[in-house]
């Protein structure tokens, strides 16, 4: 649940105390972009829209940054840079330190049956460890259940770059209402058959039997992202692109 009127804050701005949700028992939880300065100050550290959730007594800032900063539990699409003795070096974004992905962090992998990935291959992984002082670590399997949940190497298809904010909206559970992103659903309704994997680091992988379908999906995503289209405009764009394709 977000407040009706979007409140945009700048770093260091004071937040109106009446906006902070209070609850007798539940402690206030701060999400990304906010910092608590004891005893009672809450200060934004980035510029963006302040979002308050009264049901969960939490508040955070929605912002569209340029550089991806790994955080634990994020799903990302990485590119294998090279292979070391026990793990792969995976690049999450260009010109940043590589993350490590252990050779055996795949579903039912042993030394003999593990997937052999070459430099340049793409993987859909989850960030298992991320903090400021260490290189991030990834895994392609859920460590508690041992299942892959759709993670692992991505074969064929094409990956497109999108902005970080757009990737987050695509990954939202209710992307139609909250993220205002309907592009993928609309493309599916037009009859295109494709699958996608969205990486929080600003990459979307699209795979399909038909090359044209992938190109259309890529163009739709790119246009929606670059021009910031609303839901209606997204539908029109999808119709136009599908018509051009045929």
């Amino acid at each position: 649940m977000s407040t009706e009127s979007p409140l945009v804050v700048l770093p260091g701005e004071a937040i109106d105390p009446s906006l902070i949700p209070t609850h007798k028992k539940k402690p206030l939880r701060l999400g990304p972009g906010l910092r608590h300065i004891p005893p009672s100050e809450i200060v934004p550290t980035v510029a963006g829209q302040l979002v308050v959730d009264h049901r969960k007594t939490s508040m955070w800032i929605e912002y569209n940054g340029g550089r991806y900063i790994p955080s634990q539990g994020d799903l990302i699409i990485g590119q294998i840079a090279r292979s070391a003795t026990d793990f792969y070096y995976v690049s999450l974004s260009p010109y940043t330190p590589n993350a490590t992905l252990p050779h055996l962090a795949f579903e039912s992998a042993t030394k003999k049956t593990r997937p052999q990935l070459a430099s340049g291959d793409l993987v859909y992984a989850r960030v298992s460890l991320a903090n400021r002082h260490m290189d991030p670590e990834l895994e392609c399997v859920n460590s508690s259940t041992g299942k892959s949940d759709g993670l692992g190497p991505l074969k064929d298809g094409m990956v497109f770059d999108v902005s970080l904010g757009f990737a987050r909206r695509l990954l939202m559970a209710k992307s139609r209402e909250e993220g205002k992103v309907e592009v993928l659903e609309a493309l599916g309704e037009e009859g295109l058959a494709f699958e996608t994997a969205v990486g929080r680091n600003g990459k979307v992988w699209v795979g399909s039997e038909s090359v044209k379908a992938v190109v259309v999906v890529g163009r739709a995503l790119r246009e929606t992202d670059e021009r910031g289209l609303g839901v209606e405009a997204q539908r029109k764009l999808v119709k136009k692109l599908v018509r051009e394709m045929r």
């Binding site: 590119q79 010109y95 340049g120 291959d121 064929d156 090359v211 044209k212 163009r219």
Partner: protein, 297 residues
């Protein structure tokens, strides 16, 4: 020095498959279609801002009076300086020329300087003692492929837009007038050369594309840059290594290049005319009209 980002194996394979099997480019362009070309001039004379899709180049022309070279006392000096800074892409370093940078400045040199587009004799002021030194600085602001074509267009646009201060010579005394004293004059321009770069794909270079963006450049197997003006006079053809290409294909590329160069020429002429109209204050009579704004002070 950070290494250049490599596209993934999936992307390379997909691009080649789309080009060879389905004959489509990722952004839906035709094989011989350029990305949208935009050109804006600055308020100062000689500043041209070109963007070809996401590739953005800024060219600035400037002139100063200096001593001519000893072996060419009747010619002025004309230099083109290109700079690829980390602003364009993180793997570029200042003062450490990469292969891209060296090739870019060589191509610009051959296209604009060696072809005699700018008449250097007109830059001479006093034989052997004073001459104009015209310098064009090319700054690449954003690199998304095809720097050569965009940079050449920016250089030509900047030089044609530029005005050098007026001079007069009396009794051995050279007077250089400021823009306030006398209107600056355009450079002595002979012809406008433009570069057209073709990229080849496939085992024998059978698929040819115009204006490759960054991703297509990473996957191409050969490229040829043809520089010519709208009269069909070729300044240079550079194919620096890569897979051998059929000679007939190369001839076809050259004739399509001529069509594109004519389009560039008309586009540039149009933009220059538009800019001249914007600056034209209507002459003396327009300044004396009663409807003009009052000047306070």
């Amino acid at each position: 020095m950070p290494r250049e980002a490599e596209p993934s194996a999936n992307e390379k394979a997909f691009l080649l498959k789309a080009l060879q099997d389905e004959q489509i480019r990722l952004d839906g362009r035709e094989f011989d279609q350029y990305r949208p070309l935009e050109l804006t001039f600055g308020d100062e004379y000689g500043v041209a801002n070109v963007s070809l899709g996401k590739t953005k180049i800024l060219a600035k022309a400037s002139a100063e009076v200096t001593v001519p070279f000893a072996d060419r006392p009747l010619d002025g000096i004309f230099t083109i300086a290109t700079e690829l800074s980390p602003m364009a892409a993180p793997h570029f370093e200042v003062n450490r020329p990469t292969e891209t940078e060296v090739l870019l400045s060589r191509l610009l040199e051959k296209t604009v300087r060696r072809s005699g587009a700018l008449d250097t004799e007109s830059l001479c002021l006093v034989a052997g003692q004073k001459c104009w030194s015209v310098r064009v600085d090319v700054h690449v602001l954003s690199h998304d492929g095809n720097l050569t074509d965009a940079a050449c267009f920016a250089v030509v646009a900047a030089l044609r837009h530029f005005r050098k201060p007026d001079t007069s010579m009396e009794n051995g005394v050279l007077t250089v007038y400021t823009p306030a004293e006398r209107e600056p004059v355009p450079l002595g321009w002979l012809h406008s050369p433009f570069c057209v770069t073709w990229s080849f794909f496939g085992d024998e270079g059978e698929t040819a594309l115009l204006d490759a963006d960054w991703m297509e450049e990473q996957v191409r197997v050969a490229s040829v840059t043809i520089s010519l003006n709208r009269h069909g006079e070729i300044c240079q053809i550079a194919k620096l290594g890569g897979v051998p290409v059929e000679a007939v294909a190369l001839l076809q590329c050259t004739s399509v290049a001529l069509t594109k160069v004519k389009e560039f020429s008309t586009f540039l002429d149009g933009k220059l005319a538009e800019d001249a109209k914007r600056r034209d204050k209507g002459g003396f009579m327009a300044e004396l009209r009663a409807e003009n704004d009052r000047v306070v002070g």
